[in-house]
């Protein structure tokens, strides 16, 4: 921190960025992940979304998205089904997509 002194004197302003980070006071924390995640908005299909999507990830993967178009939500569901192997039957795809578009959707337009 002594290296900061000339700068302080020269400019009389707030100190420069220091180089070294502060020591981590949490190094002794128990290695336990905190609980807690948001739920999704109620509505038809919400239960299926919770059951299906929660197999692999918390629901904030959905709730933190910006308003997405139907095409974007459809692509998301398809990615989870086809690429990530989510157990989603073909008749469940439109239920998931419809719910997501209604609850977390943007007005239809080209993305």
């Amino acid at each position: 921190m002594l290296g900061c002194l000339p700068a302080l004197l020269a400019f009389g302003a707030e100190p420069f960025v220091s180089v070294e980070p502060a020591r981590n006071p949490f190094a002794g924390d128990a290695l336990v992940l905190p609980a807690g995640q948001p739920s999704v908005q109620p509505g038809e299909g919400a239960g299926l979304v919770i059951a299906t999507c929660s197999q692999c990830h918390s629901l904030d993967y959905i709730t933190t998205q910006p308003p997405l178009t139907r095409a974007q939500w459809t692509a998301g569901v398809e990615k989870m089904r086809a690429r990530f192997g989510a157990s989603v039957s073909s008749n469940q795809v439109p239920i998931l997509t419809e719910y997501l578009t209604r609850a977390y959707g943007a007005p239809a337009k080209s993305p």
Binding site: V17, P21, P25, F26, T64, P67, F84, G85, P111
Partner: protein, 415 residues
């Protein structure tokens, strides 16, 4: 709660209880208490409100997702020190069972295996790695491919990050090249696979495996790191061992790296293709809303710079000299120049560059500034590296929301 559009002014805010609990450690280094509600912060884009959550070995960070954890560094941290503190360093996992449980990471259990197209397969504990190979240190920026994705317009799906999925640390480890040479890559090895101990929930989900070309893997700059800023890696940043690839996006910096496999042929895993691809274009960009004709794997960082002080929305008096400062970085060619503008980009003047911690590190820049007129003033910084690569004034776009590097304006209120 913060006002939207305030560039997360409440970020890093602490509850009074937390602040008191920590004050013995390094009170002067912590951000000032700001705002009434310390439990959330709002990133300046639609649906940007996030909880601030404390994880093991971390101070409260901006939580994007809980399972697996994705945590963002509050932007004010980048004004604290050039090296990002371990307890504030961002976290990004992909698979459900991540981070791997601590029992798999115990010194007597954890092993790094090196196999495939090698003459001498290896299985080494971290202690054996340290004993057998020379340890070296490098200061390097780790940045998520999707850092700043939340600012993309039109918005794209994916992790909606502000600017906090980056950090700069001093990494200590052994050279990956030394380990690969000890194993002896066979001539037919065309790609090196890296896998960590994180696993998916479903058997059908692709494991998070990344590949490097042998030429890059054998570069002396790549490390198998066991320390970060002079301490063991935090659990959430890869303890006990992670890959460090200076100049490359974080997607390749495999955490809890446990398997290195040399293969012949081309790896076809999801996370190399179609995952983490960019348009095959020098700017990794296409017209907004369109689809790229051809893609390539994301690779090297582009040039970025940020103003870290004053924060957006700060009130500053006319006629008072203040010191504007920030950080700049690129993929290792080194920052040559940072220009500063206080009129929305019409006129620019050169900032002073601070001490270099190495070409892969955050480079501090500063410039004295005395505002002359009252009103909302738009400050900008624009960095150029030694190759002459710089930052676009307007954002570029790609469908995955990768590699944003435009000039980031900061509005302050001059009174």
């Amino acid at each position: 709660m913060n006002r939207p559009g305030s560039n997360a002014r409440n970020d890093g805010a602490l509850t009074r209880r937390q602040f008191l609990a920590w004050s013995g450690a390094a009170a002067a280094a912590w951000p000032a208490l700001r705002g009434a509600d310390a439990s959330t912060t709002t990133l300046p884009f639609a649906n940007g409100t996030r909880p601030l959550v404390k994880y093991p070995q971390k101070r409260p960070l901006i939580r994007l997702t809980a399972r697996p954890p994705q945590l963002e560094t509050p932007f004010s941290v980048f004004n604290e020190s050039l090296l990002t503190p371990n307890d504030a360093f961002f976290v990004r996992y992909h698979l459900t069972n991540a981070p791997p449980p601590p029992e798999l990471l115990q010194p007597d259990r954890f092993r790094l295996g090196v196999g495939g197209k090698v003459t001498t397969p290896l299985s080494l504990s971290v202690a054996e790695l340290i004993a057998k190979f020379e340890s070296v240190e490098t200061v390097a920026v780790l940045q998520c491919s999707g850092n700043s994705r939340g600012f993309f317009e039109p918005r794209v799906a994916g992790g909606q990050l502000g600017h906090g999925a980056m950090g700069c640390a001093r990494w200590k480890g052994v050279r990956l090249a030394d380990v690969l040479k000890a194993a002896g890559l066979k001539p037919e090895a065309t790609q090196i696979l890296f896998n960590g101990l994180d696993t998916p929930a479903l058997p059908a989900t692709p494991d998070f495996v990344k590949t490097l070309e042998p030429d890059l893997a054998l570069s002396p700059e790549l490390l198998l790191a066991y320390e970060m800023n002079g301490e063991p890696l935090p659990w959430l940043n890869g303890f006990p061992l992670r890959l460090v690839i200076p100049g490359y996006y974080g997607t390749y910096w495999i955490k809890q790296v446990s398997e290195i496999t040399a293969i012949d042929g081309e790896f076809k895993g999801f996370w190399m293709n179609p995952g983490y691809r960019i348009p095959d274009d020098p700017c990794a960009a296409i017209a907004p809303g369109t689809t790229p004709k051809r893609t390539v794997p994301i690779s090297r960082l582009n040039v970025r710079s940020f103003i870290t002080s004053p924060a957006a929305g700060t009130a500053i008096r006319t006629g008072t000299e203040t010191r504007v400062r920030g950080i700049a970085f690129d993929d290792g060619h080194g920052i040559r120049e940072v220009l500063f503008s206080d009129d929305g980009g019409r006129r620019w003047q050169a900032a002073e560059l601070g001490t270099s911690l190495g070409n892969y590190a955050f480079r501090e820049w500063t410039i004295p500034w005395t505002p002359s007129r009252a009103g909302t003033v738009t400050l900008m910084a624009r960095a150029t590296n030694r190759l002459g690569q710089s930052q676009p004034m307007e954002p570029l776009w790609n469908p995955s929301g990768y590699m944003r590097n435009c000039v980031e304006p900061v509005e302050v209120n001059v009174t």
